[in-house]
Symmetry: C2
Subunit: 293 residues, 2 copies
Amino acid sequence: MVLLDGKETSKKIQEELKEKVDQLKKEGKKIPHLAAIIVGDNGASLTYVNAKVKACEKVGFESTLIKLSESTTEEQLMKRVKSMNENPDIDGYIVQLPLPKHINETKITMAIDPAKDVDGFHPENVGRMALGMPCFLPATPAGIMELLKRYEVPTEGKHCVVIGRSHIVGSPMAMLMWRNELPGNATVTITHSRTQNLKELCLQADIIVAALGKAEFLTAEMVKEGAAIIDVGITRVEDTSKKSGYRLLGDVKFDEVAAKASFITPVPGGVGPMTIASLMINTLKAIEMKELI
Amino acid sequence: MVLLDGKETSKKIQEELKEKVDQLKKEGKKIPHLAAIIVGDNGASLTYVNAKVKACEKVGFESTLIKLSESTTEEQLMKRVKSMNENPDIDGYIVQLPLPKHINETKITMAIDPAKDVDGFHPENVGRMALGMPCFLPATPAGIMELLKRYEVPTEGKHCVVIGRSHIVGSPMAMLMWRNELPGNATVTITHSRTQNLKELCLQADIIVAALGKAEFLTAEMVKEGAAIIDVGITRVEDTSKKSGYRLLGDVKFDEVAAKASFITPVPGGVGPMTIASLMINTLKAIEMKELI
């Protein structure tokens, strides 16, 4: 069994990006600049955004963090978005979700210039991905594809079962896996809450992507010997033995599934760190995307 | 076995659309106006375009057919596209594909205003479809969904195997079938040229959508008793007994598969006529889409 070490891979990607930034500096070229807008004081969101900004600094990108108060109106946020679109110094930016309830998330996402949409959430980027055109890929599926590539997990002609059809993980994951590219070229089954024979389908899978958000849902009896397992889930469960008071569980019952798997991602340290690495890759790409979108 | 009669259903849809147009006329509202641009003298393309324009006339839409010579430059076509985008009288339009080789199809498709893109080929419409937002659905998959709906073919929790991953049929078909809507909510497997165990997968399917373009590919031994069969293929094969000198074959070996199927589309007269009906539905929708895209 090979552990798909997202933490280590993410570090390596960040080192590679740092080298590229150093090269850009040497050549006197523009350094990628990522901005992030966060509205309100959601603790988890602040942690995520800070991690993104910190990662930017580490690879040598320029970064800007804009913190707006919970009472920011939709109109005020829209103005910020427009000024981001118009600012030639900002190559890519994200608006951290979720937004406070009085702001329409779809409206805000739609207002982001697709050429600066490093989260890849704008419909134009989603459509470009589906059509195999140049685009920003959504961070989590892109991070998984990067892991599959770097660990040379076989995908061509393999049967990949995706559990979950969310817009940010399950659906794009399915599309990337069936694309006529490598990694990809897999036969893909997408399953969800209405699926009737999930166990039977999982038992046929050469690759399983678990992205349903239920702690330790995927057990050994659902997995074929030698399957590759990607665990996107991350659930906090109370654990008084930990200093933090909780521990993180994935969607996969790790120990028993690992015993049957050919490849498996741990939680934490698997898909999670790859998500930030993907965002950094998208930011580097943002400069050339200006010409392509 | 129920025959999914696309010809009859398409007629019925066109009657319904005619009633709606009559209603719009009574209310003094704008009548939907579809334009079609065709470049060159490709016989099949001319037949398709003429059928579309004729269908428009039948339901009472306004229509404009612009025929441009084979020697039209990309720049000249681009000018036409821009004038279509700007013309407030045109609600929706299509540029008939394929285009002559000296014109970049992607560039032209990208230039079409997504709010007038009744073919649903622009990445913004593809992305909106993937995200479940208001959009123009591509005609063939939308026509199939309409057939499934009108014949009440069960889809929720059913296993749908799609054969083929093309951008205009297989991929969007998969996305529509897994959506959290009815028809839809199916478990979906997308298969293609690299799939290794197609027969085994097809034998599990409650619904098969055959869209690979190989005459009579799907045989009875690949189909489970009681499955619903959608045949998107259309291949001309020589037949001296016919006046035309050819007959049309689908991707499904009709007679033997029909004997096992619960529902099946014939070729011709199944999916084909639904494609034009979908385009008409999109054209009617185009007036309200101005506000939504």
